[in-house]
């Protein structure tokens, strides 16, 4: 098997969480002697090359971050440039997000399930996983830890059944967090996470509160709360 892996993130690979995930996933492919080539759509100048790889190969995997419940606008634009192919080509997806629960990614997954039909190709399943927001800001060792589970998914994909196996479905984790976890996490958000985010922001040069109302036009905030 030879897989064309397309990073559908608008971020340049250096800062892309999806890219880190792809690296780990590809290690799993290599362990099973599956070869691959990787591309990233963030640089429009490479779109002709990526499209050519899409046309010439039959095993395509698009890895992407969830952007407002679906595919990022830039990836949609790229997808519109792809020609129709036939069912000899299989198109699979790896959909990742910042929000951790499975339920957050289902709307995006539903779009991806139907997309191959529009392109005339076969659907190879969608690996769905949240909780990836901070990967790019971790040091190398922690990045490796955070993305290691994707290596196992690379090995699984190498076996040829796309992402239809039970292991791939379980990989998502909980659809919703149970109430005790929500209560504890909610408390952490209120107390610790705010300080943590503010600290991270300070390291990026931010000098204002993260909930700053920059357009503090009086009437905006005079609206009754919904």
């Amino acid at each position: 098997m030879h897989v064309v892996i397309i990073n559908g993130s608008p971020r340049v690979p250096k800062y892309s969480n999806t890219e880190k995930i792809i690296s780990s996933f590809a290690k799993g492919l290599s362990e099973k002697n599956v070869t691959f080539e990787t591309y990233a759509i963030s640089n429009r100048k490479t779109w002709d090359i990526i499209r050519d790889a899409y046309i010439k190969n039959e095993e395509i995997l698009i890895a992407l971050p969830l952007y407002v419940e679906c595919v990022p606008g830039l990836l949609l634009e790229f997808l519109e440039t792809l020609p129709q192919k036939d069912e000899h080509t299989r198109l699979s997806f790896l959909l990742q997000s910042g929000f951790a629960e499975g339920c957050q990614l289902r709307c995006g997954e539903a779009f991806l399930e139907k997309l191959p039909k529009y392109l005339g190709v076969r659907y190879g399943g969608c690996l769905v996983k949240g909780g990836n927001f901070g990967i790019r800001i971790l040091d190398e060792e922690k990045q490796a830890q955070a993305t290691k589970p994707y290596q196992a998914m690379g090995r699984l994909f190498a076996e040829g059944d796309g992402f239809f196996r039970e292991e791939a479905k379980k990989f998502t984790g909980p659809e919703y967090y149970p109430l005790p976890i929500r209560l504890i996490t909610g408390l952490i958000f209120k107390i610790l996470a705010k300080k943590m985010f503010q600290k991270a922001a300070a390291s990026w040069g931010c000098q204002v509160p993260l909930d700053e109302k920059v357009w503090e036009i009086k009437e905006f905030n005079d609206f009754p709360k919904k």
């Binding site: 608008p10 407002v68 606008g73 709307c107 929500r182 985010f197 990026w204 931010c206 357009w215 009437e219």
Partner: protein, 170 residues
Amino acid sequence: MVLIIDTTTKHIGKRIAEELLRSGKNAAGFEVIDTTGMHISHCVGCNYCWLKTPGVCAIQDDYEPILRKMSSADQVWLVSDTHFGFVSWQTKNIVDRIMPLVTMYLKFKDRQMRHVMRYHHQPDIGIIYTGEGDQAYLERWCQRTALNLGSRSLGVFSESSKKEAVSCML
């Protein structure tokens, strides 16, 4: 205020506005933004609007005035062509870049993690589309998008049902 953001190649926003005027029911006022000729980039996912310049997008193009209007509108109607049964990439770019309206802070609402809104007021969202839109999917996506803004979906209407859409406008 009703804000109609038209990215369609047929510029149907104008006709929707005419229909709204004819209906004589628009008390809240409206504005049509036709994005033809505007430079509106895709979201690059830099997270600056959350962590470096909270509430401000790092991309300097024609988008910010639109976002300001979206933020103060009562209703935002996305008027879009469709591809793959979904909104066009031009409309998706407009939606992807609403991130300055939410903060990095998180909370649980209705069992799900959500971002805390930056402003108290959020617009409700509706879609009017041309072409072969996947009605059921667009409705689902519109509801989820509104959920992200802490608001509600106004519904999804094909171009031929624009009168129904207009009847939902303020």
